[in-house]
Each structure stands twice: as C-alpha cells, then as structure tokens.
C-alpha cells in the first residue's frame, strides 16, 4: 500500500488536504495511457544502467565493438575480477563507507539538539540561523573546500578519512538541521511542557520523549547525510589523494585511460548502483519524506 509514505511525504504541505484524497477520486478504470507512458519513462530512466550492465559483462573486445554486439557473445565477470585484483577498489570502498558512517554519526549528534532548539525558539535568532543554514546550503562548494584544503595541509590532516568526514559534516550540517527542524516543528509543544512538568530536564525530555517520537525524522536525516557523503565527488577530489580516496574519485581517474580500465570503472559503477537500487526500494518512504519535507516546507 502507498499510504504510509503519503502520510510522511505530504504532512508538510497538506494542512487542508487529507492524505487519502487521491484515493477517493478513484477512477473507475485503471489509467492505461498514463501507465504505458510512465512505463516507457521508467525504461528511459533505467537505460544507462541496462547498457552499462551489458557493456561491463562483455569480453573487452566485444564491449568496445562498433556497431555494438547485442547478444552474440559469452557473458563474463572479468572486469569485476580485474577491478578487485589490479586496483585498490576494496580500499576505496572501505574509505567511502567509513567517511559516510563517521559523518552521519557526528552530523546527527550535533544536529539533533540544534534542530530541536531552533524549532522551539521562535525568535529572530532562530530565523537568522535558519537563513544562514539556507545560504550555506546554496554555496558553491569550492568557496569552502579550497580553504579547507589549505587548512588541512597546514594541520597535517590532508588525505585522511577523518578530515573528509568532518568536512562533509560541516557542508551537510545546514541541510541536516533544516530537515530535522521541520520534523521537530510538527511535534506539539504541549508534549515538551507535559514532560517538563513531570520532572524531566530539557535534555532528559529530548532523550526520552522527543527522540522516540522523532524516529522517522532522524532516520530520514541519517539516510540523507549518509547518501550525501557517499555521493560526494568534488570535496573528496580536493581533500584526498591516495590513502583516503573514495570510489567516485577512483571512477573519475579511470576515465580516459585504457579500455580495460574504462570497463573496470563501469564495473565499479555497477557495484555502487546495485545497493542504490536496494535503497531506492527499501528506504523509499524516507527518501520521499526527506525530499518533500526538507524542501516544500522550507
């Protein structure tokens, strides 16, 4: 059923509309033309991945044949084996995951209290901080990343996973706060007060009452911060060299090299695409909620 994700995704925009509205409009016949058009669109959206999968599982000479050979070949996993054996792909993958996990944890630890305070302190201070968050979210990356490169060299932490992770915490913090604050703002203030009267401290209340209530919001923010770190190319390109290189940077360096290396880049891309597919289906309701809640209300 589709209702759960609607609940989350529309909460921000629907103060008047009920989530079940679209179902009451229920057309008597299924929308055939719409279905066909959307089906075609899905094929178009997926076509790069379909083609990449074919190219990567072909023997190298067939993969680069023009006109393309569509079926008359022996599928092979050689590109994946080469990727594993001749490059440091495993290391880069570990780096990418370590960076993503560290930055997600730190981002949430510092982001949750800040977002809560902002949602409960309606004044020019909190409006000003939100404006700053919005502006920093919109900044050209290089405006902060190039000085970070200079500073990290001076501090001797250039090319470490920690430096990259903490840089990403800062870069994504505005979005994290913005998203969490929108979730927090929907929890009635009376709840805080009731908990406080019952003898909770502000921190204790945050821990015992709010965090359980905010579970979905925190999960959503966590997924987004993780994905942002996992997706990041530009920051990793500038702040890493060899020892903490991430997968997107590795893939970029494989381009414009020999044909087998290009095929390995494709294999690496495929290995990233598969978990993303899984996430797109399993965590869909949080992705949809994060996109529409973090956005629409702002």
């Amino acid at each position: 059923m589709t209702l759960p994700d609607l609940d989350l995704s529309t909460r921000a925009v629907t103060t008047a509309g009920r989530p079940s509205d679209h179902r009451r409009t229920g057309r008597s016949k299924p929308p055939v033309v719409t279905g066909i058009l959307l089906g075609l669109l899905c094929v178009v959206m997926l076509s790069p991945f379909i083609w990449m999968t074919l190219s990567v599982t072909k023997p190298t000479d067939v993969a680069f044949a023009n006109p393309p050979v569509l079926w008359d070949y022996e599928p092979t996993l050689k590109a994946f084996i080469d990727l594993w054996q001749t490059t440091y792909f495993a290391d880069y993958l570990v780096n990418t995951l370590v960076v993503a996990v560290i930055s997600t944890v730190i981002a949430l630890i510092i982001g949750i209290p800040a977002a809560y305070a902002l949602s409960r302190f309606p004044s020019y201070v909190s409006a000003l901080l939100l404006v700053l968050a919005l502006i920093f979210r919109a900044l050209p990356r290089f405006a902060v990343v190039l000085p970070m490169y200079d500073i990290s060299r001076a501090l001797g932490i250039y090319d470490t996973t920690f430096a990259l992770a903490i840089a990403l915490v800062a870069i994504n913090q505005p979005f994290t706060i913005w998203l969490l604050r929108n979730f927090f703002a929907d929890i009635p203030r009376e709840l805080d007060e009731a908990a406080m009267i019952d003898g909770c401290t502000r921190i204790g209340m945050l821990r015992r009452v709010m965090i359980p209530l905010m579970g979905p919001g925190i999960l959503t923010a966590g997924i987004f911060v993780f994905l942002f770190a996992f997706q990041e190319y530009l920051t990793a390109l500038v702040l890493t060299d060899t020892s903490s290189k991430t997968v997107p940077v590795f893939i970029a360096t494989q381009l414009g090299q020999t044909l087998p290396m290009l095929q390995q880049a494709g294999a690496a891309s495929m290995l990233l695409t598969i978990p993303v597919f899984v996430i797109a289906f399993i965590a869909q309701k949080y992705l949809v909620a994060g996109l529409s809640d973090g956005a629409v209300k702002g």
């Binding site: 509205d21 058009l37 959206m45 020019y124 000085p147 530009l234 869909q284 992705l287 529409s292 956005a295």
Partner: protein, 291 residues
C-alpha cells in the same frame, strides 16, 4: 525555552559550522583580493582578480554555457516534472515501483550516473543512441566534440538526474491541493487543462518556486557530471563556472587561486540575490510566530 538552554543545544553545531564553513568562506573572500598560493600568505591586489575574471573571454564562455544550461534545464524540469507528477499521482499499487525506479538516478553519485549515461552516446561502447539516430536520419552526431550536441547531452543528463527530485516535490504539492478546489472547478465546467492552468498551478506556485530555486542553484554549480560528459569542455567552450574555478585554482598547478576565489565570491553574490524572496519568507514566518 531559556536563552541559555538554547545556546547550549545549538553550540556544538555552531562551532562546527563556524569553524568549517564560516572561516573557510572568510578565507575565500580574503583570497579574492589577493595574489596567492596554497600555504603561503598572499599579497593584496585590490580588485585585480575581479577585473581579470570579468575580462577573461574563457570565463565569459563558461558563464554563458552555465546560464544557458541552467535556464533550459529548469524549464524542461518544471514542465516534465509536472506532467510526470500528474501521472504518478494517478497510480495506486504500482506507485512504489515507479518511484523506486525513478529515484535511482537521483540517489546515485552524480558522477557515476553521468558515466553510465555517457556510455549510451559513446561510440567506444557502440553508441546505441547514435545507431538509433542514424537509423532515422542517417547523420552522425558528435556528442563529445561538437559544442551544441555536447550541450544537449549535458542538459539531457541533468534532466535525467534531477527529474525524480522535481517530480517528487511537485507530487507532494499536488497532494496538498484540496479536493474541494478541483471539484468546484469541475462543477463550474472547467476542462482538465483549464483546471490545471487556472486552479492547480496557482495553488502550488510556492512548490514550483521552490523547485525552480533548487534547480537553478544546483545546476549553476554543476561540476561532477561534466567530467565524463564533456572531457574536452575547454576546447569546445562547454566549461561550467565551477569547472573553470577548479582548473584555475586547484588543478594545473593552482596558479590562480585568487582568481578562482573571486569567481566564488561573484557566484555567492548571485545566489544570495536569488535567495532574497525565500529569506524574507522565513523572517515573516518568525514574526508571525512571535505574536
């Protein structure tokens, strides 16, 4: 909430953002007035970097390319996003599948998506798209070495990548349109087209404005996708602003850090101007809450 509690809760986040966003940003501003290299103090050159940027023909081409791609992409995304959102809004049981498939291009690292996308057009990989075009028109399109086809390739890639975002936001907006409004329009004898144009679109204009803002901001900053899609960007005049900054201030020996910083500052000013309506909205909301 007491002010002391407020600051206590906000402090850790403020320290991180202050140290790692505000300080670097101030450094960029300082650099924009200097002739400078990494690791050594620069010398003040006044507005020299800004003048150099604004008179550099290559920068002019980068701005033109970036702005054209941004505008075209934004228009296509709004129209296509709206149409697809209407379609998806009608789906019931198949909706999660369609959303799942569409989300992949948005969740994947932009660079990885662009690599996969470029292979459809790359003759090294058989160039399936060229084959299809050749079948119908008999012409050969040079997607990577010819300026206009390459720009089209970049635009189509950005649309492919950002369509799920635009569609989802607009879908959320559509679901917020009160049913009574649609029914009233229907009773008044409005055609579906009129209903969309005169009832639904005005109702969700805030949402459309948001999609426009984010699209413009994101596409103005494009960088990752051009690495695979436009390997010869400089020679065919399809560099983006951020790519130009990268080449000037980081790659190729980083000779012109000051110039790159000046361009960053100019970009920030441009983005700030675009954000003004949204900033005013936030302050209005704060004011209303305070009453």
């Amino acid at each position: 909430m007491k002010a002391r509690e407020f600051w206590l809760l906000v402090l850790p986040s403020l320290v991180v953002m202050g140290g790692l966003l505000v300080l670097p940003l101030l450094r960029t501003m300082q650099w924009s007035f200097e002739e400078v290299h990494y690791g050594v103090p620069g010398t003040f050159v006044g507005l020299g970097n800004f003048i150099e940027a604004l008179t550099d023909e290559r920068f002019g081409r980068a701005v033109l390319f970036t702005v054209v791609v941004t505008l075209v992409t934004t228009v296509i995304l709004l129209v296509l996003g709206y149409l697809v959102a209407i379609g998806v809004n009608r789906l019931t049981t198949s909706r999660p599948v369609v959303l799942g498939i569409m989300l992949v291009s948005y969740v994947l690292p932009q660079l990885v998506g662009a690599v996969a996308y470029s292979w459809l057009f790359d003759d090294n990989f058989g160039g399936v798209v060229n084959r299809l075009i050749g079948l119908f028109s008999g012409t050969q399109v040079l997607w990577f070495t010819d300026q206009v086809p390459n720009a089209i390739l970049v635009i189509s890639n950005v649309v492919w990548q950002m369509l799920p975002f635009a569609m989802l936001i607009i879908l959320a907006g559509l679901q917020g349109v009160p049913l009574e409004l649609r029914e009233a329009a229907k009773i008044d004898g409005a055609s579906p087209f009129q209903t969309h144009l005169n009832v639904i679109i005005p109702t969700i204009r805030g949402v459309l404005g948001f999609v426009t803002l984010i699209t413009i901001m994101d596409v103005l900053r494009m960088f990752d996708n051009l690495i695979p899609l436009s390997p010869q960007a400089q020679s065919i005049g399809n560099e983006s602003i951020m790519m130009y900054v990268y080449r000037m201030a980081f790659a190729d020996g980083a000779q012109k850090l000051g110039l790159g910083s000046a361009i960053n500052v100019l970009t920030i000013i441009l983005i700030l101007v675009m954000l003004i309506p949204f900033i005013r909205g936030i302050f209005k909301e704060a004011k209303a809450e305070q009453r």
